[in-house]
């Protein structure tokens, strides 16, 4: 393949990736999810005041956020984008979209590197194919449109692995790789587990690739002393870097609290149900030695784990229906297109034939990425298993490439047919994703919160001494309030009252609860009340007060309405 042709294709795939990721950014999905809103609040406040919403420094290993203890990298990266004059949704999601675009570039480089034993031309074709596959992969497109830390983390992990694989060129790449790895550890919690093991695999792959050189070095260690010392120094440095990074995180004041929250969620690590089942089995079977072996809770746990793991490998999940959670998938499409099924099989088989070491490495990567996703009980989970996207797309890409590097013309043409079907699927996906999915999923994205916050803002602009009471959803509405109602300059973290990092009151003008009777005693200042339709009746509105303005906002979560009321003293006409 000529260089210009390659460059042209490369650029057009990157442009395709950019278009697919930036098209409708901030509009699809329709609104922000809790985590996105919380990150947006922190990023914005950090940009303007240097402090997060609780008045803590931005240079921290963990942000308490709304009480779920977020890792900092995504927030840090989105700080510069808050200066761009676009909507909040775009600002916060831009980082993810860019990570999606750069992932497409990285996957190409990775594929080229991983197919070391193939000819240059074949590697180039494989590079372009895997880039193309990732560019049109629904999994990647969907998570590029949302601000989830996992998507950024998978990019850093992939980049770090790419650097690791280039260690044979320059020893300093180890340091760069560990730096990127540390960043990934600070981006998403599961990276702590995935990245170190994955880098060991990468190193093993590299050593296997250079096994002749390694045996030469082992035979004559003195000859290569200089190089070895270089590697050793950089290796030590990067080890120190990673250890320092992990230590900093562990010694952060919020670390143990965050761990507690994560461990308390429902997962296979909570052993009660398994112990119960074990005891039931033993009771029924008689509890002799054999019974104790086969009813052992670790065996039951292992079975549950294997079940969860295999959920992520079923064809239905990968290509037909995807994650049933509407935030992580459309439920109409899987993680890949139906037309990609043959690519998976062919990719695996051709890798087996052409470069087994890479197949093992990619499979190890894939399975390793699935482990953290398989421990919680909600499986399959497209977000937690995002680290599997790279090996998945590389295998699919190699499957596509093996059509084009085939000798037979018929098979090369078949490759174009498959390409055509994938593009058809892409068109259908784009339509569904941008026109059908927003309506389908609106209830999953805290629909209506933004409108309520804006309605309150309107009223506050008019009656700027009003007191607002808001009780919307699960008590995290303050995030939307900070994001859409208040100007960041109005916010002073010293003058809020919060409990467990959940803000209850801002100065004396905003409360995140329903007003009680005492609030209505003196109606010198008008009251703005935002709550759900059902709870209006509970309001102890005295006869001396009247509802002057009322706004209804549809709440897609339960099909009812949020009400924003303005209550003033009754005036006698």
């Amino acid at each position: 393949m000529s260089l210009t042709k390659f460059k042209l294709l490369w650029i057009s795939i990157v442009i395709l990736a950019i278009v697919l990721r930036f098209w409708g950014l901030g509009l699809t999905p329709t609104s922000l999810y809790w985590d996105e809103a919380a990150m947006a609040v922190d990023a914005r406040l950090l940009a303007q005041t240097g402090e997060d919403m609780h008045g803590l420094s931005g240079l921290t290993a963990i942000f308490p956020s709304y009480g779920d203890y977020k890792l900092p990298v995504y927030i840090w990266f989105s700080i510069p984008f808050t200066y761009i004059p676009v909507s909040v949704e775009v600002q916060i999601r831009l980082v993810s979209a860019l990570a999606g675009v750069f992932s497409v570039i990285v996957i190409g480089a990775l594929t080229y590197k991983l197919l070391a034993s193939q000819s240059h031309r074949h590697r180039q074709i494989a590079q372009l194919s895997s880039m193309f596959v990732l560019a049109i992969l629904p999994w990647s497109i969907m998570f590029s449109h949302t601000a989830f830390e996992g998507h950024l983390a998978q990019f850093f992990i992939a980049l770090s692995i790419y650097c690791f694989l280039n260690v044979d060129k320059k020893p300093s790449f180890i340091l760069l790789a560990s730096l990127l790895g540390s960043i990934s550890i600070y981006t998403y919690y599961s990276a702590r587990f995935v990245w170190p093991l994955l880098s060991v695999f990468a190193l093993a792959w590299l050593l296997w690739q250079h096994r002749q050189t390694v045996s030469q070095i082992l035979a004559k260690p003195k000859k290569y002393q200089k190089v070895m010392i270089k590697y050793a120094i950089f290796g030590l440095l990067s080890l120190v870097l990673v250890i320092v990074a992990i230590n900093l995180m562990i010694h952060s004041s919020w670390y143990s609290a965050g761990e507690q929250i994560r461990l308390s969620s429902e997962s296979l690590l909570t052993s009660e149900p398994f112990i119960q089942e074990q005891n039931v089995l033993r009771e029924v079977s008689g509890n002799d030695r054999v019974d104790r072996v086969f009813s052992h809770r670790h065996l039951l746990q292992l079975k549950a784990f294997l079940g969860n793991l295999s959920d992520h490998l079923s064809i239905n999940y990968l290509f037909f229906s995807g994650d049933e959670n509407l935030r992580h998938g459309t439920t109409v499409f899987g993680l890949g297109y139906v037309a990609m099924i043959p690519l998976l099989l062919i990719g695996l088989y051709q890798l087996w034939l052409k470069q087994k070491s890479t197949l093992w490495f990619l499979l190890a990567w894939w399975l390793l990425a699935l482990v953290p996703a398989s421990i919680p009980t909600t499986t399959p989970h497209a977000l937690r298993s995002l680290n599997a996207m790279m090996p998945f797309a590389i295998i699919l890409g190699f499957g596509l490439a093996s059509f084009f590097i085939n000798q037979s013309k018929i098979i090369r043409r078949l490759g174009f047919v498959i390409l055509f079907f994938n593009i058809l699927c892409l068109v259908r996906f784009s339509y569904v994703y941008h026109w059908v999915y927003p309506t389908l999923s609106v209830s999953e994205w805290q629909g209506g919160y933004k409108e309520v916050a804006l309605a309150i803002k309107n009223l506050r602009n008019e009656y700027n001494h009003a007191i607002s009471y808001a009780d919307i959803g699960d008590g995290r509405f303050f995030l939307w309030y900070l994001l859409y109602t208040l100007n960041s300059s109005e916010y002073d973290s010293q003058r809020v009252i919060s409990e467990n990092f959940s803000i209850n009151q801002i100065e004396d003008h905003t409360y995140f609860k329903l007003p009680d009777e005492t609030s209505f005693y003196s109606l010198d200042r008008p009251l703005i009340i935002a709550t759900s339709e059902d709870r209006i009746a509970e309001l102890p509105i005295p006869s001396s007060a009247q509802v002057t303005e009322e706004t209804s906002i549809f709440n897609p979560a339960d099909g009812k309405f949020f009400k924003v009321l303005l209550i003033t003293k009754k005036t006698d006409n």
Partner: protein, 588 residues
């Protein structure tokens, strides 16, 4: 010496396998599963009725396609297969389960022969099939699907085997017998009506291509410059081709169509279509609702009405359901969620079988691609009928695909063991060759044995007590008690609660009621066609108002809310495991 060793090994192996065949297929056949399920009883009683009177219990003389039974039109094959064992052992749980158990044993034997035909290790096939929880599970109760699978496998093996004999006088009748088995399968199980003909077709294609591969005398027919049609015409001119291919295949096809005709002719009558209409999701509300939901989300533009058309949703659902049957969770970890179809402790196959299946199918792809295509076709058409049904994945409906999966798995284990053997021999050179030859096989085998032990432990220790309700225990004891009471209170009506499943059929079966009186005296049916009244025995859905002079049988749950002041006598009926299932009241 070496020769002697091999013989000893062979005999030991046979003894070992035979022991486990008897243990897993025949031991405690009537008590494991703990009690007969209503369908088993219904088939058994129909067979009994046929044996005694030549009519089924609805009074149909020797039905061919289906028994009306509970109005679900059961295929007749299983009942006819039960006739000999009924004649010998009389009506009992053992005698109605025996055909299925024998079919299970024949599955193993035929799989071994199939392994010989495929030229793979028959020993591994024997081990994997003997220890397969999937096969064991369905072999131990009167499942029509198990018999159908056995017949399909026997058909393939006999047809293919007699073809391999390469003797015209053996091929033609042997093939006829094989075809006969395949046809019998279609009379035995619903989904086999689609599966067996398609497998038959696939096998004929396989034999045809194998013939083309092997023929050496008519090279001109391989001349690639000629068009396909010309090549075929050249082939047609050879006498050998007409004699060895066209003639027998035509005979078999005609025989197949002729004997399959009763089913084909009834395709639209309830006898054939009833069951599929009941179980399919095609044209049901959920499909239309999903279609509408998506169309509404897309604001009902014309594009939405096209891409979310119910047809499209249906096709997606079919493909989805098809692949659910191949999902690793279903096959290797959890199995069918219905505890009647799977123990829940192990799945249809073992965990390690996942790896073996991958290795095995790759091996087939690389070494025996034509067989791979045939086996793959077999698996696909076995899953096909199940993929238009609700409550998927369904271990019973895809049982016909089990020979394929087991063949792949066994090949995988064989190849893995071979791989490690060769690795050992490569590195250990000539030292301890014996270990190298046997150790990997033994390790792989012990993996299978360990997982099977877990299954067998669960199946014998936990399963019977845990899942009494799906096997409807207590009905036998209830019927025995009712019949004893009938003698004391001959004037009393007997009121049986529907909560126990199909109590009247259990009454016929365990009471060994004379089929002739059932045919003539039981006339009343509910809307679906199930008998509800026989002599003075009545089945009720909700408690009748008039309870005077009756023996009332209530399920345990109903009895808790029943005001038993009226009763003069009360009996608790417990099942074999001493769990309370029914309460009997005698009311004056």
């Amino acid at each position: 010496m070496k020769h002697f060793n091999q013989q000893i090994f062979f005999i030991l192996f046979l003894v070992f396998v035979t022991f486990f065949v008897f243990l897993t297929r025949l031991w405690k056949l009537d008590a494991l599963p703990v009690a007969p399920y209503e369908e088993e009883v219904a088939v058994g009683y129909d067979a009994y009725s046929l044996l005694k009177t030549g009519k089924d219990h609805h009074g149909q003389t020797w039905p061919i396609v289906a028994f009306e039974s509970f109005g679900d039109f059961k295929p007749t094959g299983y009942a006819y297969a039960t006739l000999p064992s009924l004649a010998i052992f009389d009506l009992s749980v053992w005698s109605i389960r025996l055909p299925s158990a024998l079919a299970g044993i024949f599955i193993i034997i035929n799989l071994i022969i199939l392994a010989r035909l495929l030229k793979i290790s028959w020993r591994w096939v024997a081990i994997v099939s003997v220890f397969s929880p999937w096969l064991i599970f369905f072999s131990r109760a009167a499942w029509e699907s198990n018999l159908a699978t056995s017949l399909i496998l026997a058909g393939v093996v006999v047809l293919w085997g007699s073809w391999r004999a390469r003797q015209f006088w053996l091929t033609l009748p042997g093939g006829l017998i094989g075809t006969g088995f395949l046809v019998l399968a279609t009379y035995t199980y619903h989904s086999a009506r689609a599966t067996a003909p398609l497998i038959f077709f696939g096998l004929l294609v396989l034999l045809f291509t194998e013939y083309l591969q092997n023929q050496t005398f008519s090279n001109h027919s391989k001349n690639k410059t000629l068009s396909f049609l010309n090549r075929f015409l050249n082939l047609w001119k050879t006498k050998d081709f007409r004699k060895k291919i066209i003639f027998p295949i035509t005979i078999w096809l005609v025989f197949f169509l002729f004997s399959f005709w009763p089913i084909l002719a009834n395709v639209f009558s309830p006898a054939v279509s009833q069951r599929s209409q009941e179980t399919t999701f095609i044209n049901t509300a959920p499909i239309l609702e999903r279609s509408l939901e998506l169309q509404e989300a897309g604001e009902l533009t014309w594009i939405d009405s096209k891409i979310f058309h119910p047809y499209i949703i249906t096709i997606q659902k079919i493909v989805d359901t098809f692949f659910i049957h191949l999902s690793p969770r279903f096959l290797f970890v959890e199995g069918d969620i219905n505890p009647r179809h799977s123990s829940g402790y192990t799945a249809l196959l073992f965990w390690t079988d996942a790896l073996a299946m991958i290795v095995g199918s790759i091996w087939f792809w690389q070494n025996k691609r034509r067989y791979f295509f045939f086996l793959f076709w077999w698996l696909a058409v076995a899953i096909l009928p199940a993929s238009i049904t609700k409550d998927a994945p369904h271990a019973l409906r895809i049982l016909a695909g089990s020979p394929v999966l087991i063949t792949f798995v066994a090949t995988g284990y064989w190849q893995v063991a071979q791989f490690f053997s060769s690795l050992w021999l490569k590195f250990a050179k000539n030292r301890m060759v014996v270990i190298g030859r046997f150790a990997p096989s033994l390790i792989v085998f012990s993996l299978i044995l360990f997982q099977w032990s877990g299954f067998w432990w669960f199946y014998t220790q936990v399963y019977p007590t845990r899942y009494t309700s799906v096997w409807q225990t207590g009905n036998q004891e209830m019927v025995e008690k009712v019949i004893a009471l009938q003698k004391v209170y001959p004037e009393h009506r007997i009121l049986l609660s529907r909560e126990g499943g199909r109590p009247l059929m259990y009454y016929f079966f365990f009471g060994k009621i004379d089929p002739e009186s059932v045919q003539t005296e039981a006339q009343e049916k509910d809307q679906r066609g199930e008998l509800t009244v026989f002599q003075n025995v009545h089945v009720f859905d909700s408690l009748p108002n008039d309870l005077q002079k009756s023996i009332l049988v209530l399920s345990d749950r109903q009895a808790q809310n029943f005001n038993h002041n009226l009763a003069i006598e009360k009996f608790d009926v417990t099942d074999k495991l001493n769990m309370q299932k029914f309460t009997l009241y005698v009311i004056n």
